[in-house]
Amino acid sequence: MIGHFARILVIFGLIGGALAGQPQEIADSIRAIRSVGPEGRGNAAAAAAWKKLAAGDATILMPILEGMDDANDLALNWLRAAVDSVTGRVLGAGGSLPLHDLGMFLLDTRHNPRARRLDFELLTRIDAATADKLLAGMLNDPSTEIRYDAVQKVIHQAGQSLAASNKVGATLLFQQALNSARDARQIDDIAQQLGKLGQPVDTLKLFGFLTEWKIIGPFDNRGRKGFDAVYPPEQKIDLAAEYEGNAGKVKWRDYVVTQKYGKVDMNQPYGKLKDVTAYAMADFFSDRAQSVELRLGGKNSWKVWLNSNLLFGRDEYHFNSEIDQYPMPAQLQAGRNTILVKVCQNEQTEEWTVEWDFQLRVTDALGTPILSTATGRDTSTSIERP
């Protein structure tokens, strides 16, 4: 943190009069904003600090953008609003923004991805042609928003090739887009385009869904009490054990996912039951301790544990589902990690309440699949992503 503010002060020094001789006041303002926290903590001080930043001229933009590095998502919003205010006023008065500095900031991928995205949007406002050219080189950008737009640009070009009856060209461009895409819907759209061009994509492999599970159930969920009920698999995972289930003895069994979007479909082994709960367990091997996201999609009530620690749970049934619906930050340990999922089915009987499933994958923060390194696991089921 000290280094960070030292860097800001260096920038203040470089731009000299830009800060009207009050760099400490500006640094203090950024610090106050970066201190905002949950439940409105620090809002009053941040509001006072915000006014000072928002009153600045164009030269204050780079210090604010720098101040976004390592800021929490609340502070990012405060700081971006200050940038909005300054740029709106400066451009509205016919002023200019520091094009070169903004460009250099954008090209430095060490900066906060959201700060760089904001920077890119400023650049687009003042020099759209250059911004567009730079975008072409940002297919693998760490900013999800910049990367998304860069991929869209290639998808658009692929569409143009297709319109010109250049199927090979279109295929190559769609493939290029697919290699860089991290947004689940964008990936799926590209995969469908490639399918139409005779290049089917194995989405199960592409997304890196977990496919090898042990499952056990059904347990009782009458009155929707199964979500809170603690059944034996939550207390201890013993793959050899047998428990009293909803309708007799239950024990662990293998389940291998074949559905193209990685769905662990409890209706397959157990039938289309109602008022029931089941568990799925998978081992995930990591070659090192690392920060990841477990990303679950599903429309049933669920809970997820990693190495016996509850990550999150949702007591909601049959609203909607999509890939990566619930990204959960998690810390993998080196070696074996155990993922346990509880998935509940309720009493509803409408046609749209049949599903009793979930899908899960492990990714980095950007959405790049991270695959288990388990010995014996068929690593050929994965697709290398850049």
């Binding site: 009053a44 509001a47 609340l74 919003n77 205010s85 964008q186 909601e316 609203f319 619906q325």
Partner: protein
């Protein structure tokens, strides 16, 4: 010649709009009676006592201006003085939240602020993250989004505070999308955030956004919006859900009374003349508010007055419901007796608004039908096709009606602001 709007209801919810505005001035607010500061206007009932809103809609004659919007939205515009505020969402996952201020006189954009959602943005395709309508006390704008991100700005666009309610309480969301609009009362921002997995209503300090109070609510998905009640001179806020109605003190969150006989999770309630009209799957229920502010008595319940997504509307002695398919039903507010029905061109999501005895009903296809409710069976007297999908309830202010789609904001009515 008699003014065709002379039958306009001047007393709504036991107080007129002008006297309510005066009351708000006394309590520190700066709202004017002609402002439209929240979902369905000053009294949360969709009725304006304006007199100059055109009843024959014609964009060639009455279009004041049309402005581009940067993203989707089901939220209504709100109008404070000469400023119009709109929220939008954009981005691949609707993660970008916009609050935009336009000048009412010419539609020029005065400022725009953008934010990144800190809560979940998943929505069913028909709705979007910018579904709830912002609220204002006349000095500040408070906007909430489906992600439960809540932002307070002054009229000049200065950021006063930001709350990530979805970040603070991550299970209070649903995968269809949240839509409950904000309400400001007694210096508190009322945020009704209710889902199957977690549910609460919070009273946020208007000055700082911190919780003044937070009360647990039924764990059931709820898209209704809180409404103001004036019960025997006591300001209360009605929270509707599928479980019923709870009236709370806005300053404390204390539940003053609870009525479990009728409730809804989509259309909101409406109050007029000391009566609260509550939609439910069984029709409409009328509750007589007690002069002492205590639990109301049920006046009637009618299965023949059925709401759809749109909330009920009360005009003087008549109550109106609009089905999703387009059946406009008129009933007697005093008895619940059904008086007439009129088939409109639907489908409808937006709630009708009214000036005088004219109802403005905008369909999902962007066709506004103006209904003269004084006619014995109701009569469509004007139609305007804006040619775009509109799910947002229109707003009324200073002789104009405002519509918004996912791409545009229209002001129809050329009266000076």
């Amino acid at each position: 010649m008699k003014n065709p709007r002379s039958n306009a209801p001047r007393l709504i919810g036991n107080v007129s709009i002008s006297s309510l505005a005066a009351m708000l001035l006394l309590t520190g607010g700066t709202l004017h009676g002609a402002d439209w500061p929240q979902f369905r206007g000053l009294l949360c009932n969709g009725v304006s006592d304006e007199s100059a809103v055109p009843t024959t809609l014609d964009t060639n004659k009455d279009l004041a201006w049309k402005a581009d919007l940067p993203g989707r939205g089901l939220s209504s515009p709100i109008i404070i003085g000469d400023r119009v505020f709109v929220t939008c969402c954009s981005g691949s996952k609707q993660q970008r939240l916009h609050v935009i201020c336009f000048l009412a006189t010419d539609g020029s954009k005065l400022w725009e602020r953008q934010f990144w959602a800190t809560g979940r943005t998943m929505c069913q395709s028909k709705t979007c993250v910018a579904a709830p309508t912002p609220a204002s006390d006349g000095k500040r704008i408070v906007a909430i989004f489906s992600s439960n991100d809540t932002v307070c700005l002054d009229l000049e666009g200065n950021l006063m505070w930001f709350r990530g309610l979805g970040r603070d309480y991550p299970n209070a969301s649903d995968s269809i999308g949240m839509s409950s609009s904000l309400l400001i009362a007694s210096g508190v921002v009322i945020a009704q955030v209710e889902s199957d997995s977690d549910a609460f209503t919070a009273g946020l300090e208007l000055d700082t956004g911190v919780n003044r109070w937070k009360i647990a609510r039924p764990h059931k998905a709820n898209w209704t919006s809180p409404i103001l009640l004036n019960s025997g001179g006591r300001e209360l806020v009605a929270l509707l859900s599928s479980s019923g109605v709870a009236a709370i003190e806005p300053a404390t969150g204390k539940v003053v009374w609870d009525f479990s006989g009728s409730g809804s999770s989509i259309p909101s309630g409406a109050a007029s003349g000391g009566v609260l009209f509550v939609p439910s799957s069984r029709g409409l229920t009328a509750l007589q508010l007690d002069a002492s502010g205590e639990k109301p008595k049920q006046l009637w319940q009618s299965s023949r007055l059925r709401t759809g997504t749109a909330s009920p509307l009360i005009l003087g002695e008549k109550v109106f419901t609009l089905s999703d398919g387009g059946i406009l039903t008129c009933g007697a507010a005093a008895t619940g007796e059904r008086l007439w029905q009129l088939r409109l061109k639907g489908p409808f999501s937006a709630t009708p608004v009214a000036v005088g005895h004219f109802l403005y009903c905008v369909s999902e296809t962007g066709v506004t039908q103006v209904v003269d409710a004084s006619k014995p069976e109701g009569e469509v007297v004007s139609e305007l096709d804006l040619g775009e999908t509109i799910l947002s309830t229109p707003s009324l202010s200073r002789g104009a009606i405002y519509f918004r789609s996912d791409a545009h904001l229209w002001k129809i009515g050329k009266s000076p602001s």
